[in-house]
Symmetry: C2
Subunit: 426 residues, 2 copies
């Protein structure tokens, strides 16, 4: 399968944007035409998952019916409106007379994506891959297998209908497939694992292929001593409870000691209305009646109606806590003090650093990228929500007429290094 992906990658890289956009619109038609098959497959997946005792937030992710179909087809149409991510010249320079260097955006090639039991993710990932000219090997959670097969069939048929290779997307079905994929470092250029930190580490430990990890989302809201308390309560409730089963939900709240007595009782009332269970350190317990939080809580992604709370003595202590326990995903400061916000935004080492806004905004669609293939919590290549740009790389094209390094060394020619404002002609 990886060899087949490698083969078709050349066709995809050379395909024009009109054909790739036509494939995206064909996907909309195929998904809508076959929706009864897809929904029936999803019914079977959900029934099995319920029988297996899957938790409610996970069942919600697994469900794929009319509402999710409408969302993914809207996403596909929106994706056609975005500019072509490949082919543009992003740097052009004359090096010496008649010798021109161009840096040109191109697809990465073959990408393996391992994702959770959320069938809409399959459509988003595959469509972003196709738009950016990449071949993709997809492995979804086993709970969603029937739904994923039905969806992938539609996407492959749509690509074939416009003359692109159906094998632009191939579905892996077993854990053994994943283990085999990790060995194919000569054929696969990038692995994007979405899942727990432990899972991303497992992938990194078992493959030479570069990994862009979408690991835990241990997001923080820090309520500074100069916070607007109304805003702090509203942002905290939204960050925690608007949707608990997503990686950009808050898991730990940090509150400055000078505002804790005013803020915490109001937070407790608001969270009670949303049925959020609160855990706190000893100083939090002295103000509101909550269960104790332990050291392990600071590193836990609950993905549930649970929030751990810690009191801190200073802005610096909040930053240190976040850089130590956080996952580099998204962290917010609530404050009216601009200097404190600036310090927080500079020193917190996360992909998203927010001032006075809910952590729930960390998302590729929200950021204007159309959709996302994952949220990168590392610092290399791409960071935060990864859209089309994260799925591209570049190559340097150098167009000459016989220039030699010996001529540069002996002074026959000289470097001009003139920046050019032109597209690469080849």
């Amino acid at each position: 399968m990886a060899q087949q992906s490698r083969q078709v990658a050349w066709t995809l890289a050379a395909s024009d944007i009109d054909t790739r956009n036509a494939a995206l619109l064909a996907m909309v038609r195929h998904l809508e035409a076959h929706k009864s098959i897809i929904f029936a497959a999803n019914d079977a997946d959900v029934a099995q998952a319920k029988a297996d005792g899957l938790a409610a937030p996970l069942l919600k992710r697994l469900t794929f019916q009319e509402e999710k179909l409408a969302a993914v087809t809207a996403g596909l149409k929106a994706l056609t409106l975005l500019p072509d991510p490949i082919g543009q010249t992003t740097y052009a320079r004359e090096l010496t007379e008649g010798l021109k260097l161009y840096r040109v955006a191109c697809p990465i090639g073959v990408i393996g994506v391992i994702f959770e039991s959320r069938p809409d993710a399959l459509v988003q990932i595959a469509s972003l891959a196709l738009k950016s000219g990449n071949a993709v090997l997809l492995k979804g959670g086993r709970e969603a297998l029937r739904t994923n097969e039905a969806l992938c069939d539609c996407l492959r048929a749509a690509a074939a209908e416009v003359g692109l290779p159906a094998d632009f997307a191939q579905l892996l079905t077993t854990r053994d497939d994943v283990a085999a994929m990790l060995k194919e470092d000569a054929l696969i250029d990038l692995i994007i694992p979405r899942g727990s930190n432990a899972f991303v580490r497992y992938i990194m430990d078992n493959s030479r292929i570069p990994v862009l990890g979408h690991a835990d989302g241990i997001c923080h809201v820090y309520v500074d001593k100069a916070a607007d308390v109304d805003m702090a309560v509203a942002i905290s409730v939204d960050s925690k409870a608007q949707n608990v089963s997503v990686c950009n939900a808050m898991e730990t709240l940090l509150v400055h000691r000078d505002i804790a007595e005013e803020f915490l009782p109001r937070l407790q009332n608001a969270m009670q209305l949303r049925n959020v269970r609160l855990l706190g350190d000893e100083r939090v317990q002295a103000i509101i009646p909550v269960e104790p939080a332990t050291e392990a809580d600071w590193s836990t992604e609950y993905l549930d109606y649970i929030l751990s709370i810690r009191m801190v003595d200073s802005l610096d202590a909040a930053i240190d806590h976040i850089n130590h326990y956080g996952s580099g995903h998204t962290d917010c400061i609530v404050t009216e003090d601009t200097a404190a916000a600036q310090t927080f935004l500079t020193r917190v080492d996360s992909a998203g650093v927010y001032h006075n806004v809910s952590t729930r905004f960390a998302d590729g669609f929200v950021y204007g990228f159309g959709a996302e293939v994952g949220i990168a919590t590392g610092k290399i290549h791409a960071r935060g929500p990864m859209g089309l740009e994260g799925l591209t790389t570049y190559k340097y094209k150098l167009l000459g007429s016989g220039q030699l390094m010996a001529e540069m060394k002996d002074g026959t020619r000289h470097y001009t290094h003139t920046l050019l404002n032109e597209e690469c002609p080849l």
Copy 2:
């Protein structure tokens, strides 16, 4: 040491560009003021290396006297003229009323670089790291240890003189240091190993830290059937023999069967004048008297006056050979046929794809980047010569006034997604 790097990384990230440029100029002064110490240390390193029987090309790389000093100080001065690589806003968008997203360039943080016995590389790497606000752990080849210690002392003193932390650069001295560094994935953000494929693989297999490999440079020149033969000979000689001990030198030449009888005898004459030993496959041996090349030759980086030659039946066969045996570094087609050049540049999957120009041009200084920290032969994050841009990442700063996701979902607010042309104020 890694903890110390992590600590000072914050100071470097927050330092202003004037201070960082002042440090670069102070480095010039310190290197020139202490050149007798540096040259004496290098004399000792070279004497030891000669006693140990180091090959001539490697001795040339190891030598650091007046000429190399002049080159590195010129490089430092040139580096001060380049724009600040951190702090710029590269994407700005209003998401909804009053909520602005900014993508801001920032340092990666702590970078470990392992490099060959070439002391000028130490100055280039450390100065690029400082200019881009990164802390760096440096491990050079053991043959250059005395020279590296003398150079690193100068660079550290220069940083301290302008008020930046001397520990922006720290020198590792043993293999055990490297093994220890590879375990520090919580403190180190990126490893850049320069060396053989086997070495880069060893690093990848023994660390969870992301790796940007500067591996073998198995560069090709393909002489197409539509090549200008004079140009093809000149480019081949320059690519092979202008400097054999560098990663952008040609190691294998591919020649189209239709031009081989005209080209090969002329190539042989030219290469004889430069004392290059030629190896060839059977069809090459039928035209010129050369030693046989074996399968292993196609994957060998000689770094010496040796060239392997293979005859191919078509442009596609040349591309397939390069994508199979090459190292993704730099590959050139010599042809007067624009369509053939376009196919080659699109389908060869290397960082540098060249038309009618010597492979020796693959270099950060030549490309206009000032210097380079390595040449990335992978496809993630950076590709080809890595200058300042390769040492930066970005973070998303989102500045709000209490916006909630619940408001977006219930229709109280709407996405505006207006692109902005402004710098982030925080």
